[in-house]
């Protein structure tokens, strides 16, 4: 019974959202606001249950070793709320922001260099003459594509220089990449429509087998 009610609510709300295809209307607005409200409430429950309760309160109450260290992030978390106080006190929240930005920057620099730039650079240094002609062609396109695309982003080149000619080849590679990305995006959006259609006609109207 509960599942039937859930399916009817979900199906009805799907139609409410689909009504936007005809034009903005109060039914769509209702579903949109309901979604925003429910999402906010859902997030609040998750923050309480999985973050505050499980990662802060439970270890402190259980007296786990080193749990006292949790007071530090808890302190930074609490002073973040000072943004709501008058301007005289709201500056305190900047400590938390500085802490977050500092950690974020450190993590990103390490991750990007160690996990992205160096491995990708290594993957581009490829031999152009191997035993397999298929590999040779693949490697040729990867090397030429990388080099010419990089020249496209060298903006202080002269307009009629050799580098400009290379950059035009780079533009072609960029356009092909955009085309591939667009094709995949179309596929992704259609997949979402297929998902909703099979929900409406499978789970709700029961015309086809639910997936």
């Amino acid at each position: 019974m509960l599942e039937t009610i859930s399916v009817w609510i979900a199906g009805g709300l799907t139609l409410c959202i689909f009504s936007f295809l005809y034009g903005d209307n109060p039914i769509y607005k209702f579903a949109e606001h309901l979604y925003v409200g429910f999402s906010a409430a859902y997030w609040l429950i998750y923050v309480w249950h999985f973050t505050i309760k499980q990662m802060v309160i439970n270890p402190i109450v259980a007296g786990e070793s080193g749990a006292w260290l949790l007071i530090i992030p808890l302190f930074f978390g609490v002073i973040m709320l000072s943004r709501w106080l008058p301007e005289r006190y709201s500056w305190i929240s900047r400590w938390s922001i500085a802490f977050t930005v500092g950690i974020g920057a450190g993590m990103v620099i390490i991750g990007q260099v160690q996990g992205y730039i160096l491995p990708q650079l290594k993957a581009t240094l490829l031999p152009l003459a191997t035993g397999s002609w298929k590999t040779n062609i693949d490697n040729f396109f990867i090397v030429i594509g990388t080099v010419t695309t990089l020249t496209y982003f060298y903006f202080s080149r002269r307009e009629k220089s050799t580098m400009s000619k290379f950059s035009r080849i780079g533009t072609a590679f960029i356009m092909i990449a955009f085309g591939a990305a667009f094709g995949y995006t179309v596929m992704a959006r259609i997949s979402l429509l297929i998902g909703r259609m099979s929900f409406l006609f499978g789970n709700w109207f029961r015309i086809v087998k639910p997936l």
Partner: protein, 285 residues
């Protein structure tokens, strides 16, 4: 001449509601008729399949649910297909989640497939739930999973499960499978793959597939499953048709319709340009 003008006017001002209706019809017909379509297996999906196929029966796979209901039609079929493959080979599964809204749908998929193969919770699979902190959690799990996941999704201590007794960090996990609708796939590769040499497979939404291919080319991931087509390929490989394969016919029909619309749009564009050029020339005379 007048007829040609009318056609041009029509072709350049087709009401978008007409396009929506056509797309809805071409998606709906294959679903209603239950048409299934064969798919060609791509090397990237085959590589993902081979990686799981080559695991031993007691190996452990960590599956990260990093998507929400908005990406469910693309990623849920991948999850189910990979779980079926893993459970069929008696591979143990640990599920976790970095997207809070992904936890219920991940749990639903896990419980459904585990029931199909009569797998026992705690012995064959464990759901350790959601944690905030993404990169920090990923890095710390390389030392001890319990530093962030003391309990499972239902607040039961991890040490009470036979499966988790000897599992402490990535050294005890054979493979990480990231099902991604956002940036977390990059994080798995950059922070776990590079730092801990962890083997990784990514299943991503169609939108993200092109930006994920470089990781496959560089060998940073062992397989890539992209969008609904990737899910359909995986279902074909394991021989269990699901939503991926059923959706592919609708997908193909919709693509054909979109290509036709693109061609019509281009014809309209070029004819209009030619007409404007002709008017300019006649105006000069």
């Amino acid at each position: 001449m007048e007829n040609k003008k009318d056609f041009l006017d029509w072709i350049t001002s087709i009401d978008r509601k007409f396009i929506f209706a056509i797309i809805a019809i071409v998606v709906l017909i294959p679903i209603l008729l239950g048409i299934q379509e064969e798919v060609q297996i791509s090397p990237s999906v085959n590589s993902a399949y081979r990686t799981i196929e080559n695991l031993d029966s007691n190996d452990v796979v960590l599956i990260s649910i990093d998507y929400d209901p908005a990406s469910m039609p693309e990623l849920q079929p991948m999850l189910k297909a990979m779980l079926r493959h893993a459970f069929r080979k008696d591979v143990k599964v640990i599920m976790m989640c970095f997207w809070p809204l992904g936890l219920p749908i991940g749990t639903q998929g896990l419980e459904q497939v585990a029931a199909e193969y009569s797998k026992a919770y705690g012995k064959d699979y464990v759901n350790i739930g959601y944690r905030p902190g993404d990169r920090a959690v990923m890095v710390e799990m390389g030392r001890e999973i319990r530093h962030f996941f003391r309990t499972d999704v239902s607040d039961v201590p991890l040490d009470s499960f036979p499966l988790m007794k000897d599992i402490h960090n990535y050294n005890d996990i054979s493979l990480v499978v990231g099902l991604e609708a956002g940036i977390y796939g990059d994080y798995w590769v950059q922070y776990v793959g590079s730092r801990y040499n962890q083997r990784i497979i990514l299943g991503v939404t169609g939108v993200m597939a092109t930006q994920t291919y470089p990781y496959l080319q560089s060998g940073q991931i062992e397989g890539l499953i992209g969008g609904l087509k990737g899910a359909a390929e995986y279902e074909t490989l394991i021989g269990t048709p699901g939503f991926g394969l059923t959706g592919m016919a609708a997908q193909s029909w919709a693509h054909v319709a979109i290509v036709v619309f693109i061609i019509i749009g281009n014809i309209g564009y070029f004819l209009t340009r030619r007409r404007e050029k002709r008017f300019r020339v006649e105006g000069r005379r």
